[in-house]
Amino acid sequence: KTYRWITFKPQGAGDAQQRSTQWFVDEFAKRTGGKHTIEVFWGGSVAGTREIPTALASGVGDFGDIITPYFPDQFPLNNAVGFFIPQPNNTREIGELMEKWHAEIPQFEQELANSGIKAVGFRPLESYGILCTEPVESVADFKGRRIRSYGFAYPKLIEALGGSPVSIATSETYEALERGIVDCTPIGPALARGWKYDEVAKYYIEYPIGASFGHLLAMNLASYEGMDEETRAIVDQLGKDYLGVYADMLDDDESTVREAWESELGVTVIDPGVSTEDMATLSANEGIQEVRKDWIERATALGVDPDPIVAELEFK
């Protein structure tokens, strides 16, 4: 059988997300001995980013990647990490936490099943710092800077830092940085290169925002359950192997970008000297806590004990 994978990623992207998707597809064909294959429909040619859960649930595709933060009401539990910005875990750790929660807390899987979807793998994003057009030597330096924000959690973090949050669409952030509409944007090295922001903003501040989640590698529930046991076992194993493969690719990308920053691109990396205690103090900020409380209430209402999850996502 040929399964359909629908993704927003363009085939030509060549980043860790795209390469690891290709790896999954190739490996699937290999491990099933060519009995089953996956055909990928790249670049949102079949469904837009915000349409993918609906398209997956109805069987437009069998596989697909869901940008989880776009759906906080549909998948509140799986969005836990998105309510905890900043948080102390890196990409690999966030992936492992998602695996652990899915294994231990049935509601995580149930919430996807309610939408006709099954998670087969997890793809957290890279750890973020803050990229600026001017040097920012210490956290106090963020005061008064216009920092690009999006979503509901970043405005609170930026305000806590003393900056002023400015909502700019991702595709306009390049121009906004170039022309000084914003001074800074939260981003990681690989993505900064991907969007070419580092052409116009030359100071990367190692402010430890942590990794965020991220993308669910999901399947149409019926397609998953319709697989024979052997194939399903292959998919389950592939999903587990995926995290390591993807995280390695991401590490490679990051070190390549950092080398390029140092050599030809002339991006200065600044360590503002932030300790875990500093982050814990900042996280105690009222606005930031308000966002977290919102999630805690939602999780409690869904019958999930929030404490062990929160413990992983707070700075200690």
Binding site: P10, S45, T54, A55, G59, S171, E172, I181
Partner: protein, 436 residues
């Protein structure tokens, strides 16, 4: 029946239903949805219908389309176009075909403040067509020169169509917008040259006019172009100084033009605000309906594998890359005959853009190139939206056949422009490269 066959049948069904007079949006949407049903089933097809209308319009980028349209309608109400035309007449009325040439120049200038090909063609049909016909210009020349000049608004920034390209291909919209400036000016010159040559070959098309404007009158007439220039300069300056983003420029441009219109008219009533707003939302609805339905059709094409196959075929071709370019031109010209520009881009770019990128072409250059192809498509029969617009806005002065008949020299000018873009890619890439 293979999926590929289903895809081909879908393409044929699309053209057949368009020719039978089915609304273009209905033809695209229904053939797409039925095709999806055949390929993946009715539940998935319905699910695509359920999300695509909301998802496509729930977009900050696309807000520039109604805002640029609004700007164009305010400019029309303020009489900015007719002022420009009056000034141009003083300067060029004495040349044979001079009125057509001056309306082309006026449209090019207007295009620097309007993002809409349709809007510009309407404005100039209202202003320039009666003037030309009254002075003995042939219907075909007068109407066709306006239909083609309207397309300059799309090439010269700002441009809603270029924004569509940027979104569909994830390219830098700022770079794309500025890239269109030089090609737009060059194309305007080519259009003027085409008019001049056509009139030289058949003098009956346009009489020479007596102009008794003195030099001082000519110079004084330049003041009429001032207000529009002021707005254009303000927008460009605002973009460069980082006051607003390209998307926000739509709102700023509309606001500035509104203020100017109010200053000019000295009356809120004459502005006919509600009518202007209704004109804007009607045209917006038309454009979005086409964009969304084209998206449904293109998803059907994608799932049928036809898009991948054509794309794969184009990429694996072991031929000179210019042969591929020629094939892409042919595809756009054929599809452009039947389709509206945003639809054409939505359907074709997922196939052609990756192919061109693999062949090493510059994404911004290709944006300008494709937009030019769309402009040619906007005037070629049977679906030449600018020709419909000119005919419709002419109050029965010209027939659709008149418009199409006069277009031959301008389509040739379009081809010359295509060749120029290939020979001198810097026409498109020079300005964006300076911006980096």
């Amino acid at each position: 029946m293979t999926n590929l066959t289903i895809g081909l049948i879908g393409v044929c069904a699309l053209f057949a239903s368009i020719l039978l007079g089915v609304n273009v949006m209905v033809a695209l949407g229904l053939v797409g949805a039925v095709g999806l049903t055949v390929l993946v089933g009715i539940v998935p097809a319905t699910s695509i219908l359920s999300t695509v209308f909301f998802d496509t319009t729930h977009s900050f980028h696309f807000s520039v389309i109604p805002l640029f349209l609004l700007m164009g309608f305010f400019a029309m109400r303020a009489g900015l176009g007719s002022d420009l035309f009056e000034a141009a007449t003083k300067w060029l009325g004495g040349i044979r075909g001079g009125l057509a040439i001056s309306s082309t120049i006026g449209a090019a200038a207007f295009g620097a403040a309007s993002g809409s090909s349709v809007g510009t063609a309407t404005v100039f049909t209202k202003i320039a067509l009666p003037e030309m016909l009254a002075r003995g210009y042939a219907k075909s020349l007068a109407a066709a020169s306006i239909a083609i000049a309207g397309t300059l608004a799309v090439m010269i920034p700002p441009s809603a169509l270029v924004v569509v390209y940027g979104i569909l291909t994830n390219s830098s919209i700022g770079g794309l917008l500025i890239a269109g400036l030089i090609p737009g000016v060059v194309f305007a010159i080519l259009i003027c040259a085409a008019t001049y040559i056509a009139v030289m070959r058949r003098p009956a098309l346009a009489p020479r006019l007596q102009t008794d404007a003195t030099l001082s009158e000519k110079l004084w007439s330049l003041r009429l172009a001032g207000p529009l220039l002021l707005i254009i300069v303000a927008i460009i300056a605002g973009l460069y100084l980082g006051v607003f983003t390209p998307t926000e420029a739509g709102g700023v441009g509309a606001m500035l033009t509104l203020i100017l219109a109010l200053v000019r008219l000295r009356s809120f009533r004459k502005l006919a605000l509600m009518r202007t707003l209704l004109d804007t939302i009607r045209t917006s609805a038309m454009i979005f309906a086409i964009i969304i339905c084209a998206l449904i059709f293109s998803r059907f094409l994608a799932l049928s594998g036809l898009a991948n196959t054509v794309g794969g075929f184009l990429t694996t071709l072991d031929v000179n890359r210019w042969v591929v370019v020629a094939m892409i031109v042919a595809v756009y010209l054929v599809l452009g005959m039947m389709m509206d520009a945003p639809a054409l881009l939505a359907i074709t770019l997922p196939i052609t853009h990756p192919v061109m990128m693999k062949l090493g072409f510059d994404p911004i250059w290709f944006g300008v190139f494709v937009v030019l192809l769309c402009e040619i498509g906007a005037v070629t029969p049977p679906v030449g939206i600018n020709c419909f617009v000119v005919q419709a806005a002419s109050d029965g002065r010209v027939a659709l056949e008149d418009v199409f008949r006069g277009l031959v020299p301008y389509v040739i000018a379009g081809f010359v422009m295509l060749v120029l873009l290939c020979a001198v890619p810097e026409l498109a890439t020079f300005l964006p490269d300076r911006m980096r």
